[in-house]
């Protein structure tokens, strides 16, 4: 007979899977300590975004950087995280090349735990970036009418949206042969997604066909929702739209990524 130590056979597999995912997320988060250059990047990123978009472009876009700050900051937060989600696909692809995932796949753990763990770990980093962004915003005089609750709700919504987007890049990371392949392919999606939106300019100012794209773009929905939450305005429609988009992306890409993961043979 097999002894108990060899066949852990968790009584509650879902709970075990969550625990395994969190352990693997810890791996991703532990890099914040052991790879300081990545950490510095995540912390400085918000500073660069704010400087670039608020101070450099603010006067030109709105005549007054303070006005533009209040308009653009919510969108910049969304955009920063959206662009960062690409990193999930890149690091996944690198891990696959190194054979680390083969180890995970031969451990008696839930099949999806390594993927879920990587994504959850990245969410912690995005959360860190968002916290720094909020601090930078406060430092340059951004006072959202939505208050602390509005900020917290906005942050949570951004992370949820990012969680769904991560699965697109996870799929790419599993399908592409090299990290640079991931980057090239992802940029094709990312730029129209991140910039063809209401992040930097109001959609009303765009020419017809661009406006049609921007209005449908999930990033626009997320940006508008975050704007509404931060300003304390009624946000129901925008938040619902963002949640719907997130659910849609998850429904399509989570199973695809899980399937690609099962089939991936190094």
């Amino acid at each position: 007979m097999l002894s108990a130590t060899e066949e852990p056979g968790p009584a509650r597999p879902v709970r075990a899977a969550i625990g395994q995912s969190l352990t693997l997320a810890w791996r991703s988060v532990s890099r914040l300590r052991t790879v300081p250059e990545e950490t510095v990047g995540f912390v400085l990123q918000p500073l660069i975004y704010v400087t670039l978009f608020v101070f450099l472009m603010g006067e030109a876009m709105a005549g007054d950087w303070r006005t533009y700050r209040d308009f653009a900051l919510p969108g910049i937060a969304v955009q920063m995280v959206v662009l960062s989600t690409l990193g999930t696909g890149l690091s996944l692809n690198t891990d696959l090349e190194k054979g680390l995932f083969d180890r995970f796949r031969t451990l008696p753990i839930a099949r999806t735990a390594p993927l879920l763990g990587a994504v959850l770990g990245d969410l912690v980093r995005y959360g860190l970036s968002l916290a720094v962004m909020a601090a930078v915003g406060a430092a340059i005089g951004f006072r959202p009418a939505g208050g602390v609750l509005g900020v917290a709700a906005a942050g949570a919504l951004i992370l949820l949206f990012a969680f769904s987007l991560c699965w697109i890049w996870t799929l790419l990371g599993l399908k592409a042969r090299t990290p640079s392949g991931v980057q090239t392919l992802a940029t094709l999606f990312l730029f129209p997604l991140a910039f063809g939106s209401s992040v930097l300019v109001a959609t009303e100012d765009m020419p017809g066909w661009v406006r049609a794209w921007a209005a449908a773009n999930p990033v626009t929905w997320a940006t508008d929702a975050v704007r509404a939450l931060l300003s304390g305005a009624p946000a129901g429609r925008e938040v619902a739209g963002t949640l719907l988009w997130s659910a849609l992306i998850l429904t399509v890409f989570l199973p695809l990524a899980a399937r690609a993961y099962r089939r991936r043979v190094r």
């Binding site: 680390l100 180890r103 043979v265």
Partner: protein
């Protein structure tokens, strides 16, 4: 250190820890495995020997549930690798050709991660990590990023990760490729320690010396087929004959001794530097030959009788097809009984 490892109970003995029947695997048009069958009894070391591209890694990936076979069946630790993949994963440890450790984590963090994934509590994971680091003499490097480790240290850490849960069956895919001779020797003794505690080991190698040193049974693979199976000793017998080797006291006499030996036995003898080698059909002819050589001035300790080396076996079995570079210099020479 190894006292805690579970010995196979009486009921396990005599069973096969690894069994494969007619495994077939195709990649596109290429057939990687063309009906591979093998078996390893509990607590034994099975060595898959073959050149690059013979299918060794594909066998390992199939047996470790990473790759479903196209045909055939296999079981590991009594569980089917396809239908009971989860149970197989609960009983095995695997190190691939590429060390599966995270460069950007410390040695300790790597082992704690694997232990936690294996269901260890935080404290138990830390204890087990420390225990294994100590066992594999990595304690001093425990807090350093794996990025700074040498090749030998990475292999040891990789092996430690496999031992976290004390596997019943351990798979080592070319565990010593790229290691210097000292690290290789260290890894061998670690493997023998693990086996001594009842773990079954399947290892692949291109090094004949490795197979000779570690294996209870050798499976020679070539182009996805099993060429021959058996204990190293029997494989060598199969090629036939015995090998005699003698070292004349001074180099200049090697040619003369070779000629004398050839005259005595009627078989060719070759002088190579200060060593003379020849083969005998029958070991019974050896005492006579030895006595005459000693009478002629050689001392007894300089004459030895042995089996052909595994590389001779391999060459004979694969029809002389010795793939370039498959058997590095040094490995081919080292096998001597």
């Amino acid at each position: 250190m190894w006292t805690a490892v579970r010995m196979p109970s009486a009921g396990d003995r005599g069973r096969f820890a690894i069994e494969a029947e007619d495994l077939v695997k195709r990649f596109g048009g290429a057939t990687a495995l063309d009906g591979v069958s093998l078996a390893a009894p509990e607590g034994s070391v099975l060595c898959l020997l073959g050149p690059n591209g013979a299918g060794k890694t594909t066998v390992v990936r199939t047996l470790t549930t990473l790759l479903p076979p196209d045909a055939g069946r296999a079981s590991v630790a009594g569980h089917d690798v396809v239908r009971e993949a989860g149970r197989v994963r609960g009983a095995i440890g695997v190190t691939g050709q590429f060390t599966a450790v995270d460069d950007m984590m410390t040695g300790t963090q790597n082992l704690v991660l694997v232990a936690r994934l294996n269901g260890f509590s935080r404290q138990a994971a830390r204890n087990r990590a420390a225990e294994l680091l100590d066992l594999l003499r990595l304690s001093e490097a425990a807090g350093r990023l794996v990025r700074t480790y040498s090749g030998g240290m990475r292999r040891r850490l990789d092996l430690a990760a496999c031992l976290v849960r004390r596997p019943r069956v351990l798979f080592l895919d070319e565990p010593t490729t790229g290691l210097d001779p000292r690290s290789r020797g260290e890894l061998w003794s670690l493997v023998l320690d693990v086996v001594a505690q009842g773990t079954t080991v399947l290892l692949t190698t291109q090094y004949l010396e490795e197979a000779d040193r570690l294996a209870d049974d050798v499976v020679v693979l070539d182009r996805g087929r099993v060429v021959v199976t058996g204990p190293p000793r029997r494989l060598k017998q199969r090629v036939g004959g015995r090998r005699v080797e003698f070292h004349p006291p001074d180099r200049s006499r090697a040619e003369a001794v070779a000629r004398a030996a050839a005259a005595l036995t009627g078989r060719p003898a070759e002088a190579e530097g200060d060593v003379v080698r020849m083969s005998l059909e029958d070991a019974a002819a050896f005492p006579d030959l030895a006595r005459q050589l000693i009478d002629g001035g050689l001392t007894a300790g300089e004459i030895s009788l042995g089996y052909p080396s595994l590389d001779e076996v391999f060459l004979a079995l694969t029809g002389g097809r010795n793939p370039a570079g498959a058997f590095p210099e040094g490995a081919t020479r080292a096998v001597r009984d």
